[in-house]
Symmetry: C2
């Protein structure tokens, strides 16, 4: 069976703010339950972790969306919580539920026992991890939260010293994990700060942004072959802090659908590429409505830099992971609309 | 039993951007499950709706937090979903769960059958309702959502015409309800756009903000006695759209904890009072930590206008409803810290 090659020059060029003939796109969680072939592989694997930890299965599902759609990047099939699992907290996924950790951190002894794990790399195109703060959310709660992260936030406000120890450990672990992925051939890396947006304004700077910056400071700048490894940082719900995120040592900022791309470009487009930001719920509408909404996202960013050298570039994505309820044909409509409209924007005489 | 009077000049003055000797405060959901006396009354009432629809019980729990803490405003004990209930959708609350509507809107026939209800006013200090969009979320889903409002957003993107019909009906109903509350003696009114922040940037303007504006346009400006009735609009997760909300015909904008009050003041403080924005999770820490975080919120806003005429004012509140798990003694620490530090800020020689 012939798979398309994993490397994609268009995506990497856009990450580095170089001109491309069209806007590259990939979809967060593009390998997943909305694809029947994914469900078939997962059934064979027996469980989510059986899938994610088996090289053959994980490779298979990583490539499935590329086989079906003309996407411009692959992302390793994995989970943002593999780092706490490697730290011994015991990750599992029950069918139809979110992640659960068997041994959450609830006291000082558990925090003191935390160690940076030895990690073995894999070979993704885009490597990724949860951010130190996002990992801490799950590590303290033991799972997702039904009451606004009450347990982890209680620790944050009551014992900031303990929270800082967890975050410093996580930053080491995340950097080691991403560096291992770079060593194994990852051509770009992404930090998912999925729960940064749950923090208060001041707390975001102190407990999330500072530790994402610490991860970035420890990351290798190039891979074995000497190629620059672009870094993407995505804070869900972080639109209010884009100006602060503009100071991060990364190449791309991901934004969710609450952000105006035009405004984000005006704020940080002088130094960062932007990734996003279609509302995943758009993919529940009819294909022609999906295409129309995709064009609005492209138009919101406006005409990207099209000359030589560096300038504002856009990587199309959703504002969050694709829903398991998405009809695959709508993804096809999305990919076609993004490629054709963004090509037209670059060549049309009156493109904005 | 002697209750403090419901009227509070400090709160109303701050709403209208007039100077006050300290920063008034009240807490969203201040009558609720964190108070043992509330739980006792609810047990007698039998159910949430039994409590909310019985004048004696509702009055009792409305006054409970004022009897216990030195708060500067009362808010009618009710729910943001009383309007869809009055429209015939059948509201109920199971113990420990969120709202459920028995007859959600799922097709065109159900939307066509919607009517603006006849509403009987009550006598709150602050009257309130959900926003047209927030009501529509529950009206279409039938309850809160576990998957990012998939059903209501599917309708929004697939059948925007139907969504606009629901929203136009809701705007009429919400305005009629708030006007009835003003007739019955409400001295301020608040629109809770609890789920506006779930919308994409463009969709927020079209499906939430426009209909909140429509409600405001239909509201009485003064009560029977000729007093101006201040209007508060709160969009949870709406910090990115504060500049647009600055154009609303209201007096106060509420903001959640992700917003910098200093920045919000710079953006809209020239025309709006600001309400917020302590992270409710702060109230799980120790009393001295609660007080310290409260002072940070006050300092973030900075010294309010202290002279004659109009200027920037701040009403202290949480960034969202108080949690049922909050220790009541921490609320006491909060109230004391806000009143004393905000008094000091106005009188201290070096207050910022």
């Amino acid at each position: 069976m012939a798979f398309p090659p994993l490397t994609n020059d268009t995506f990497l060029r856009a990450c580095l703010r170089q001109a491309t003939p069209y806007t590259p796109l990939w979809l967060m969680r593009q390998a997943g339950r909305y694809l029947p072939e994914y469900k078939a592989t997962r059934a064979r694997a027996g469980s989510f972790m059986g899938l994610a930890t088996n090289v053959q299965y994980a490779t298979e599902v990583t490539l499935q969306p590329l086989d079906r759609f003309d996407l411009d990047a692959a992302i390793l099939f994995s989970d943002i919580l593999t780092v706490p699992d490697a730290m011994g907290l015991g990750l599992s996924f029950a069918e139809g539920e979110g992640p659960k950790l068997a041994r959450p951190l609830r006291d000082e002894a558990a925090v003191s026992a935390l160690r940076v794990p030895a990690l073995n790399g894999r070979v993704p195109l885009i490597g990724f991890s949860g951010s130190p703060w996002t990992l801490a959310c799950y590590m303290v709660e033991g799972s997702g939260s039904k009451d606004d992260w009450r347990t982890v936030k209680s620790m944050l406000y009551s014992r900031p010293d303990l929270m800082h120890r967890i975050l410093a450990t996580n930053a080491e672990a995340v950097a080691a994990y991403l560096n291992a992925q770079i060593d194994a051939g990852a051509q770009a890396v992404m930090v998912f700060d999925s729960w940064g947006g749950a923090l208060a304004d001041r707390a975001f700077r102190e407990f999330s942004l500072a530790y994402t910056a610490s991860v970035l400071a420890k990351l290798k700048r190039t891979g074995d072959g000497g190629d620059v490894i672009p870094r993407i940082v995505f804070t869900k719900g972080g639109g209010l802090w884009l100006d602060q995120m503009g100071g991060l040592d990364c190449d791309v900022l991901g934004v969710d659908w609450t952000v105006s791309l035009a405004r984000a470009r005006a704020l940080v487009g002088g130094t960062k590429a932007l990734q996003g930001n279609l509302d995943p719920a758009v993919l529940f509408a009819a294909p022609e409505q999906v295409a129309a909404e995709a064009r609005k996202v492209l138009d919101d960013f406006g005409r990207p830099h099209a000359g030589t050298g560096l300038g504002p570039t856009h990587i199309f994505n959703l504002g969050h992971g694709i829903s398991q309820h998405t009809p695959p044909d709508n993804v096809r409509a999305l990919v076609e609309a993004v490629h054709s409209h963004s090509t037209h924007m670059r060549t049309g005489l009156n493109a904005a």
